[in-house]
């Protein structure tokens, strides 16, 4: 049974001001209804005035996704009543969107490249937000701070074949948006998704308003199971709108009333048609993820996997380029594998890490002043300091203070003797040809010497010592 998925993605554009007025978009953590004016409150008589920057951001995305920008596009009113919708209509684009017909390249489930077609992208305003106070208050509160935040709605063709593909598409799209500098990935609710999913030949179900990438994969996975089970039992999939219940990882049927909506779209008479096709040529695109990934492989000689990871986030890619000069391949391993793992563990952002310190650390590793194990120890100390908001000590100082300089060969003879003597069973196992026994012994020596020796070298020393007959 073939799964067919199409997405509608609402992206909050990171302009300084709202789509149709001068109110600041940076309202997070501020009191409700403090970023409002007659326009975004929909006061009688107020008129919308289009934010040029939002149009430029939309066109940037259009260009990056290889879209066509029609000579003329148009704003329309989408009419419906809801307390968070100040004017009782949303200004959006309907028949004549800003841009049409683009593509995004992703990997399919077999790891092959595939194209997801983009149907259209259009500008619209975000509504306000209803706040329901816990404990069964008889009021709902309305916060219009979000009212008028510019959104770019990007609609795909039904080109994805699994929930995993949908997630990969979203990751790819988010990366492109971040590269373009039109979207702040750290904003909560900055990207919201409606997903259409069907089994080939069956009715389509729309899952509305999913607010995280993981949520999209979860909701779609749930739907695949639900729809397949229905069909297996000989039942039909109903064409309907469903809501994703994030906490439980399930979707539930929305009331049919909502589907019967007639939005009575018509061109907004307050806004003249938009003629901006001529702006596209002048837009300078930054190097996009695919190009940067290819350049990283060619310029730095690093693996596809490392290049993919490092270019998956523009800030991470910039960080890598700031430390790559020490030794590109070693730097790629340390940034993409070690550093990223440590950051995830601490839920830290790469922005909090001083690149020059990491460059110094990589230099110490390259000159074999310290071992990898000691490198990890130093890295952790530095990150802990950064996370606590303390100044980040130079790695050389930590090495000095902690005495982590790589040991010279003869330095561990005593430790080796001691470990071998204390573990006769392991020695016997080693002699019996069990590989794990040597690793165990080396581990014991590492522990005693706090990682100051290179484990490969230690392996050689320990085995030679036993082979020489030492017990």
């Amino acid at each position: 049974m073939k799964t067919i998925v199409g997405l509608e993605i609402h992206v909050q554009l990171s302009t300084a001001t709202k789509l149709f007025c001068g109110c600041s978009t940076d309202y997070r953590d501020d009191e409700p209804n403090t970023h409002c004016c007659p326009v975004c409150l929909g006061l009688p008589g107020a008129l919308p005035r289009l934010n040029k920057r939002a149009v430029e951001y939309g066109l940037k995305v259009a260009k990056a996704l290889d879209m066509r920008v029609p000579e003329e596009s148009e704003f329309a009113r989408k009419n419906y009543f809801y307390p968070d919708l100040a004017k009782a209509y949303q200004i959006t684009q309907s028949d004549r969107p800003l841009a049409v017909e683009g593509t995004v390249e992703i990997e399919d489930d077999e790891g092959h490249e595939k194209i997801v077609r983009i149907t259209r992208a259009h500008l619209e305003e975000d509504p306000g937000r209803l706040i329901h106070i816990a404990g069964g208050s008889k009021y709902s509160l309305v916060d219009y701070n979000r009212s008028g935040i510019p959104l770019l709605e990007i609609v795909t063709e039904p080109d994805m074949r699994s929930p995993q593909e949908a997630r990969r598409f979203l990751n790819k799209l988010r990366t492109i948006l971040e590269y373009l500098g039109v979207f702040d990935g750290e904003r909560e609710g900055g990207l919201r998704v409606d997903a259409n999913i069907s089994m080939e030949g069956s009715e389509r179900v729309e899952v509305k308003n999913i607010s995280s990438y993981k949520g999209v994969e979860k909701a779609l996975t749930f739907e695949v199971t639900r729809q397949r089970n229905l069909l297996r039992r000989g039942q039909k999939v109903a064409r309907e709108t469903r809501h994703f219940v994030e906490g439980r990882g399930i979707t539930t049927s929305a009331r049919s009333k909502e589907e019967a909506q007639d939005y009575r779209y018509f061109p907004d008479p307050d806004l003249p048609p938009l003629r901006v096709a001529g702006w596209v040529e002048a837009i300078d695109l930054p190097e996009l993820p695919v190009a940067r990934k290819n350049r990283f492989m060619a310029q730095y000689g690093i693996s596809l996997n490392h290049a993919r990871t490092l270019t998956g986030d523009p800030k991470l890619a910039d960080f890598y380029e700031a430390v790559a000069h020490v030794e590109p391949v070693l730097a790629a391993t340390w940034v993409a594998d070690t550093l990223l793992g440590e950051l995830n563990y601490r839920e830290m952002s790469i922005a909090a890490v001083p690149a020059e310190r990491i460059a110094e650390l990589i230099a110490l590793l390259r000159s074999e002043t310290i071992t990898d194990a000691a490198g990890v120890q130093v890295l952790r100390e530095m990150l802990d300091a950064c996370a606590a908001g303390n100044p980040c000590e130079p790695p050389a100082a930590i090495v000095e203070r902690e005495g982590l300089t790589r040991a010279a060969e003869g330095e561990f003879t005593q430790v080796v003797e001691k470990v071998v003597a204390a573990n006769p069973q392991a020695v016997e196992d080693y002699r019996a040809g069990k590989k794990g026994a040597l690793n165990f012994l080396v581990g014991q020596v590492m522990k005693e010497t706090r990682g100051r020796a290179d484990p490969r070298e230690l392996g050689r020393i320990v085995s030679e010592y036993i082979d020489r007959g030492g017990v």
């Binding site: 009419n79 008889k138 307050d270």
Partner: protein, 433 residues
Amino acid sequence: MAGTLDFSPDDRYNAFITTCAEAPFGDGPLAGTAVAVKDNISTAGIRTTCGSKILDGYVPPYDAHVVDLLRRAGAAIVGKTNMDEFGMGSTTETSAFGPTRNPVDLTRVPGGSSGGSAAAVAAGLVPMALGTDTGGSIRCPAAFCGIAGLKPTYGRVSRYGLIAYANSLEQVGPMARTVEDVSRLMSVIAHYDPRDSTMLDRPYNHRPSAEVKGLRIGIPEEYFGEGVDPRVGESVRDAIGVLEGLGAETVPVSIPGMRHALAAYYVICTSEASSNLARFDGVRYGPAVDTRKSWHEAYQDLRRELLGAEVRRRIMLGTFALSAGYAGQYYAKAQVARRKIREDFGRALREADVIAGPTMPTVAFRLGEKTDPISMYLSDILTAPANLAGIPAISVPCGRVDGLPVGLQIMGRQFEDERVVDVAFAYEQEVRA
């Protein structure tokens, strides 16, 4: 120079919804001049109701652009004038604050929807007033009350702060006893405002000139046909004769699209209104919604109770005209008719410099006379076309029929407001002299 104007008019006409007993004023070309403002134009700190209960108690936190310009010109804003609820009417009888009476004959309507502004000027309570014109709402009451009123070219005056009825049709405009004062007030309010995206930067700085020699005046047969009181037509022809006496010539022109004008006009204005007026839900301003009900039910009840019958009728008409399955038949067709009318006027205004005809097909109705909505809608037949075409149109008094004023309407090319003012001025100067 700046000071306060005491304003306590003898308002027997119910021309005002709100008056300001002490109106502050500043320096400038209108220093100390009392100006009345129609109650659908936002005034910071002064209640603005649109003649509706649903906005009773609403005090805007900001000034409309035109009000800001008035204040900066030194004018004293002395009150807010009565109007048909949300501008929906041609008599000022649909106001939730009671009808306004025509100062010329208290048993007659002043016309509408800017009836309060027209009556205040005609009665001499103020020398000038702002009205708004969506389908004739400045020109109709100007004609009925015997004053002058200009509907500017669409895009010449900022709509920022004008509480929208039909955005693509309406303009704020000046009303006064003389064309000269209409022109003076126009010079104050017609300045570019980037907040209105449908506006062009074409300020009006003009002193009227009475020179009409060689002017070609187009006479459209449609403006003198069926439904037009022949005595009104006669007065207007006489007035055009006066202009000919001053050296103008007349040419016959035709606006065949006129037969679709009213239908197109009512579909477009009600469609836009159905969307514009949806925001009046009692959540943010006006009488508060009943929070004990579910929001959907509360909205319905509030709107049913606080919106008048004519407003509800037009909201329903517009909602229907935009509905899925019907929008093609109504909204889209109306746009086609509108384009046709625009083209007709474009052609006629290549053959002539201005077009002249009656403003209204009749003189002022008796209060309560128009009970059937269709016959009320028909009275907009001669004014609504200028709104559909976006062209400037002025009404200037030209004689009387049965002792009631008749209006001569002069329409011109887009952004040639100066020319229609000049023609009206030439006529006015000639008959006054």
